[in-house]
């Protein structure tokens, strides 16, 4: 593994999200990698393409009462309820560590109103050490707003515009899969100025305890993540990549380099590793290594040759 130290900035792995160059296409997904520090004993953080931190709101949030997580078949439901330290403590306590990592930091933001998002973007503008914003308009856990932002193209566009106006870094908008046609939302946020689109957030699900006859989550419903949702994520990434021109970041059930490469073939410029971090805290770095090995083995000049390179019989190519 140490031989990779030299390779870490392998130019063949570099990808572009707006004005931002990532040294490789592997990011960690918001809410699954803490504030990165939690993983420092497992991952050479600077070798990742980027780190997306836990969603930040204007005020600190305590989140939902327990139980907050439950395992399902090849997946898990979470109803964390967006517990976070709030933007002020984030800047004071987390940014100093993060900005020393030498890895692009994406700050995931969430609010209850368009104005919340605007104020968050404005507060984070100019703060050193932030490479990009990821706008979470898709979290299903908060009753106020949350889900609605992600399912109404006009509101999604309004949030995007508000954030873009304030922000001095690229803005990626993270979409919800719980919609009839995800390309409509994707096109709306693209038109509103998004520099990239990440998807998918979790599918809304539920689990019931037969013994107690109660929901297994205190919040009743929660977000489904993990390998179970990968086929849905791959399909949506494929659809959106065909429908927009901005880069797409693929998320959902990725736990190996093969998974990541499949998303790239489907049209993703980069990927995020989520739930897999819980099972294998080295997953993100191992995926970087696996992609590097594949690029080598296939003698690709650049990973970009793979983006959207899926061959569909009958569609030529």
């Amino acid at each position: 593994m140490d031989c990779l130290i030299e390779k870490k900035k392998n130019p063949a792995l570099a990808v572009q999200i707006g004005s931002l160059t990532l040294s490789n296409p592997v990011l960690t997904a918001s809410g699954t990698f803490g504030y990165a520090k939690e993983f420092e004993s497992f991952v050479h953080l600077h070798r990742l393409g980027g780190v997306v931190v836990k969603g930040i709101s204007l005020e600190p949030r305590a989140g939902n009462p327990p139980p907050r997580i439950v395992e399902t078949s090849c997946g898990m439901l979470n109803a964390i309820g967006l517990e976070n330290v709030g933007v002020e403590r984030f800047i004071a306590e987390k940014i100093p560590y993060l900005s020393n990592l030498n890895v692009p930091v994406f700050v995931n933001i969430l609010g209850d109103s368009v104005d919340d998002y605007r104020r968050l973007a404005s507060r984070l503008a100019g703060v050193d050490g932030i490479a990009a914003l990821e706008v979470n308009i898709s979290c299903p856990n908060v009753k106020k707003g949350g889900s609605a932002f992600g399912s109404d193209p006009d509101v999604a566009a309004a949030v995007t515009r508000a954030v873009k106006q304030e922000s001095d870094v690229p803005v990626v908008v993270k979409l919800s899969p719980n919609v009839t046609d995800v390309t409509v939302i994707a096109q709306a946020v693209e038109s509103a100025g998004a520099d990239g689109i990440s998807l998918i957030n979790t599918l809304i699900g539920m689990a019931i305890d037969l013994r107690t006859r109660r929901p297994k989550l205190a919040n009743v419903i929660g977000g489904l993540s993990g390998p179970a949702i990968k086929p849905v994520a791959l399909r949506m990434v494929h659809q959106v990549a065909k429908a927009v021109c901005v880069p797409v970041i693929g998320i959902g059930g990725i736990d190996s380099a093969e998974d990541a490469l499949e998303f790239i073939l489907a049209g993703a410029t980069a990927v995020q590793v989520g739930t897999a971090n819980f099972i294998n805290p080295r997953a993100s770095e191992e995926i970087v290594e696996g992609i590097a090995a594949y690029v080598d083995e296939q003698q690709l000049g650049s990973i970009c040759e793979l983006i959207g390179a899926l061959k569909i019989p009958g569609e030529g190519g």
């Binding site: 939690e38 989140g63 327990p66 739930t275 819980f278 099972i279």
Partner: protein, 262 residues
């Protein structure tokens, strides 16, 4: 913090009772780093079902660079683990969490119930090693029946600690709850009670300690996804209205910090 993710060899698999197992796992780094009350997360299947690792307290570490866990077979994960063959490798993440804060200079009372007995052996051994000036810890163990106790009793006794037992069916020691035994004791006010067991038992011990103004540390169990502070899933409601996280703030908490809702 020296957390390790390792492929670890299963050296020995013992069936202690019908549904209780003890695994001995070879890992110098985990055995050396672990303190009592910490836990490991173990992957139970090679595929994605069950998806998440399972948390287990460290039962004890051994000089030969191994450590042990003891568990009850309750679902798919534990039954897969119980069927692992000696010689197989398991992916282990650990040691994790905040263990007991050892206070070697004051009298110690250890109260364990059910599977909660297992990690107390590690604690008792460390206390015996460090607690040179004090009387040996008083250990109170509760279980459903003698069977569940006997696997551990010798090992506690071999340490030289004083052991009292209670069983639901009266087949060993006091017939009834281990908290009955605790109530009968008259500990010095500076004593520390170290506790691990089912939630109702720990809540009862916490109440007794609060009434008598005794310091009490408990090891809590919650659902866990990551075991390392990343998922924020392992919430523990605290007295001050905030939430703690069992895997990173705990699993051992001062009993008085916890909002007990049984």
């Amino acid at each position: 913090m020296s957390r390790i993710q390792e492929k670890v060899q299963l050296i020995r698999s013992e069936r202690l009772t019908d549904d209780n197992c003890r695994l001995t796992l070879a890992s110098q780094s985990i055995a050396e780093a672990a303190v009592p009350g910490q836990f490991v997360m173990i992957q139970t299947a090679s595929g994605h079902d069950p998806l998440l690792r399972r948390p287990f307290s460290i039962h004890q570490t051994r000089n030969d660079a191994t450590f042990q866990i003891v568990f009850k077979i309750i679902g798919r994960g534990t039954s897969l683990l119980a069927h692992c063959r000696e010689g197989e490798e398991l992916s282990v993440l650990g040691p994790l969490g905040q263990g007991y804060r050892l206070q070697p200079d004051v009298p110690a009372i250890l109260v364990g119930g059910g599977m909660g007995i297992a990690p107390l052996l590690f604690l008792a051994r460390r206390l015996m090693e460090q607690q040179v000036l004090q009387a040996p810890p008083q250990v109170l163990l509760g279980a459903r029946n003698a069977d569940e106790l006997l696997s551990f009793l010798n090992e506690f006794q071999a340490l030289g600690v004083r052991v009292l037992t209670a069983t639901d069916d009266g087949s060993h020691g006091h017939s009834g709850l281990v908290t009955d035994e605790l109530k009968k004791l008259n500990p010095l006010s500076e004593s520390v009670i170290y506790c691990c067991g089912p939630k109702p038992m720990m809540a009862a011990v916490a109440t007794i300690c609060r009434e008598r103004a005794l310091a009490c540390q408990v090891s809590v169990e919650t659902a866990m996804a990551c075991g390392m502070g990343a998922c924020l899933g392992c919430t523990v409601p605290l007295q001050d209205g905030s939430y703690g996280h069992a895997c990173s703030d705990g699993p051992v908490f001062d009993a008085e910090r916890i909002l007990w809702t049984v």
